[in-house]
């Protein structure tokens, strides 16, 4: 079974036509991989489907805009993986 990171990386590679080998756990989806907000909707859709969750993008955006969180917390891929694992666990609880 592939890890959450692998699943996300594969989604990003396929959705945004980014070479898979350039997508690392420490990559920032926006700052390093250059993914814009519209492309991120496609990624969110694929993640929602793959994991059976609903990424709380609006909540995350609000927290960043309010200075309560940094984009690193949600868009560095190993952090995004952890957030997804939390959402999956919460769904199963």
């Amino acid at each position: 079974m592939s890890s959450t990171f692998d699943t996300i990386a594969n989604i990003i590679a396929e959705t945004c036509d980014i070479p898979r080998e350039s997508i690392k756990p420490e990559s920032h989806a926006i700052n390093d991989l250059g993914i814009d907000s519209l492309d991120f909707l496609d990624i969110a859709f694929a993640i929602d489907k793959a994991f059976g969750i609903k990424l709380p993008l609006e909540q995350w955006t609000q927290e960043v805009n309010d200075g309560k969180a940094t984009t690193d917390q949600y868009f560095v891929l190993n952090n995004l993986s952890a957030r997804i694992d939390e959402l999956v666990a919460a769904k199963g609880a």
């Binding site: 909707l41 969110a44 859709f45 489907k49 990424l55 993008l57 609006e58 955006t61």
Partner: protein, 157 residues
Amino acid sequence: MRLEYFQLIDRIVDLNLAGLTIRCEATVPTASTIFEGHFPGYPLMPGVLLIETMAQTSGWLVVAANRFERMPFLAAVKDAKLRTFVTPGQVLSVSAELKHEGSGYAITEASIAADGKSVCDATLTFSVLAFPNAEMNKRMRDTAANIGFPMGAPADG
């Protein structure tokens, strides 16, 4: 259709919030300045307007699913296929299904048929945001009432 007002849906025929589907009807006007240019001597409904027709149909479905609290704005058009010509006077049956409602976005699959034949289809992505102002919300409700939106339950419930 009131092309000059960019109002492409005439009537909501069926809105199913349990199944997250909608079907609308739209009649292409017999005369419009658009047909003078598209094309001279051979009037055809522009494909971009057919896509907009699917977007507006999808939009009413997303508005209904959000109980008029949020507004969908077209963000992406994927896999659009324009399968046959549409000419002035044709009656279009426009359908859409809400495939996914994410956080701040929605994805629909929409299609148009005419005379029993498939006209076009596409997958549409919308950003779903709070209404920018109360005026827009009111006007959307007014338009909805005019095209047969079932205002009771989904709009105000």
